[in-house]
């Protein structure tokens, strides 16, 4: 089990470095802050919803590579999805990291599986989940 295989895979580093979704959305429909203060992770998540579909998603803030990569993947995977879809993806993602469930992501969002290796680093699970837990709070507000 090497760190590069599990945690610092190229795909994670790419998502960490990507600035595409790292920005604020002015006038976002949904917006929330999430933090793991003891790690020093502090993110904001923005969603623009149009007709029940995620038109745009972004994040901003400070976080470790795992947290930011996870946030970027989250934004990527939600573009153009219904909030019901978002719920389903969220459930799969959390199940993958918390309940050892084998995820069944569609091809377009199969990059999310890259986060599976985080399971072997229990303290980092919290980092990977921070954006998703923040999303959960937002979606709960929608229903």
């Amino acid at each position: 089990m090497s760190l590069e295989d599990d945690l610092y895979k190229e795909i994670i580093l790419e998502n960490y470095r990507s600035k595409k979704n790292r920005r604020k959305i002015e006038g976002a429909t949904l917006h929330a802050e999430g933090a793991n203060p003891s790690c020093g992770d502090d993110l904001e998540l923005f969603l623009s919803i149009e007709d029940g579909v995620v038109a745009d998603a972004s994040y901003d803030g400070v976080g470790c590579s795992i947290c930011c990569a996870s946030a970027n993947l989250l934004c990527e995977s939600l573009h153009g999805r219904s909030t019901a879809d978002a719920q389903r993806i969220l459930g799969q993602f959390k199940g993958m990291l918390l309940d050892e469930l084998e995820p069944e992501f569609e091809d377009e969002i199969s990059d999310l599986e890259a986060m599976q290796g985080v399971k072997h680093y229990p303290v980092r699970i919290k980092c990977a989940l921070l954006p998703w837990n923040t999303l959960e709070g937002l979606l709960d507000g929608v229903q």
């Binding site: 090497s2 760190l3 580093l13 020093g40 992770d41 502090d42 400070v62 470790c64």
Partner: protein, 423 residues
């Protein structure tokens, strides 16, 4: 430049105060490797490793006595009581307590602070009174006072921190005033190792009629301490940071203050007479030790103190000083590294906090882990100080008696790994 050449030249093993290899042999865990690499333990600020003598003291209590203390009329219980009491005397001697002060066993620094925050602050403070603390405290020496202030209407004031993490003692008279009833201050920052001038703070506080609580969680494990000459009213610290077991800590206090305080934990062993509707309490220290205490923990803490005393606290100070200078020197040659804390190393214990470029501390820590190097990352339970430094966290390397230049080399060399991945 070639660091290895540099340090081999200026810091050979002979400049170290301690015979480290003989000491290291007494710590079973140092025989292990981590992630397949030599184990470089630089997380002593979080907790210390344990020598065989301490591990054996706990086991021995369970294998040979096991009995509860107090009231036992049989041999093993009597002996357990004697050993528990002896551990208390041992602690008292170690911190230089005289007969005007007492040692109370708690489960750790955090509980010790809370005992004072409840039994003393909530009893004596009210609106108009002030508690003074500092911006560099561990949450354990901050949050209990926030709550005590909420409960009593007292006000919490802060000795401010300079940008380098030292305290602004120049304006001290403006902070510690006639309304100050308590000053709660650390003897050593767990983030930077900075050690404030306690004497000066205590003198001023006493001149104002205030009590002083010293958080010795980081200091007592690494330095000789004498509470009688220091003059503080309370000193709190934890066993697990000083080669002792988890689940045991100390609240030292002056007897007159302790006698007048209320206990925090009510129950058996701390009461003298119990009627249906009221009870009377035993004298100090029993009053503060309700319930079956951590007997094995206290006895093993006694063993830890024997171990440390034999090594010699002054020699530990000097050993760590050499290592800290070595660490600072090597770190100064790493361009991407930003460190926190006063430049004057003589005002600091063996702690070194830094960040590497804009790599998140968590990532730096995880990569160092792969090199067998254990450091702590994050806010170190000191959010207000993180704010002063303008960061959300740091990487912290903290030293102890068994560390060597090899540990520091592993740390600094490990930074190259970070550059590979994130550079």
């Amino acid at each position: 430049m070639n660091h290895s050449t540099l340090h081999t030249a200026s810091y050979d093993a002979s400049s170290l105060e301690l015979d480290v290899s003989a000491l290291r042999a007494q710590f079973p865990i140092l025989k292990r490797s981590m992630r397949g690499k030599r184990f470089s333990y630089l997380d002593n600020g979080a907790t210390s490793l344990k020598p065989e003598a301490v591990i054996a003291a706990e086991s021995r209590y369970y294998s040979e006595l096991s009995a509860n203390i107090h009231r036992g009329v049989y041999e093993f219980s009597e002996q357990a009581t004697v050993e528990y009491d002896r551990a208390r005397e041992n602690v008292a001697r170690f911190i230089g307590a005289d007969r005007n002060g007492s040692v109370i066993f708690t489960k750790g620094t955090t509980e010790s602070v809370n005992v004072v925050a409840y039994g003393w602050a909530r009893k004596y403070l009210g609106p108009g009174d002030e508690i003074v603390t500092t911006e560099l405290e561990h949450h354990a020496n901050l949050v209990p006072w926030q709550e005590a202030c909420k409960a009593t209407g007292a006000r919490l004031r802060f000795i401010p921190v300079n940008p380098d993490g030292s305290l602004q003692l120049d304006g001290l008279e403006a902070v510690i005033g006639e309304r100050t009833k308590l000053v709660a201050i650390t003897a050593m920052s767990n983030v930077t190792g900075y050690m404030p001038d306690l004497k000066r703070v205590i003198e001023l506080a006493h001149a104002r009629g205030a009590r002083v609580l010293v958080d010795g969680a980081q200091y007592v494990s690494h330095h000789p301490v004498n509470v009688s000459t220091l003059g503080c009213d309370f000193l709190v610290f934890s066993g697990h940071k000083m080669c002792g077991p988890t689940g045991i800590g100390v609240l030292y206090g002056k007897n007159d203050v302790l006698e007048a305080m209320d206990p925090l934990i009510y129950g058996g062993d701390m009461v003298s007479k119990v009627k249906r509707d009221e009870a009377s309490y035993k004298p100090v220290p029993d009053k503060f030790e309700g319930g079956t205490p951590n007997i094995a923990g206290a006895i093993a803490l006694g063993a830890a103190i024997d171990f440390l005393s034999e090594v010699g606290m002054q020699r530990i100070v000097e050993h760590e000083r050499v290592l800290l200078e070595y660490l600072a020197e090597r770190a100064s040659r790493v361009d991407e590294l930003v460190s926190y804390g006063p430049e004057d190393l003589s005002a600091r214990g063996g702690i070194f906090s830094f960040n590497y470029g804009d790599v998140h501390p968590h990532d730096a820590g995880a990569l160092l882990d792969q090199e067998g190097v254990a450091v702590r990352t994050g806010f170190h339970c000191a959010q207000p100080l993180m704010k002063v430094f303008g960061v959300t966290g740091t990487v912290r390397a903290s030293l102890y008696l068994y560390n060597t230049t090899d540990d520091i080399d592993a740390l600094i060399d490990g930074l190259a790994r970070i550059k590979d991945v994130f550079g």
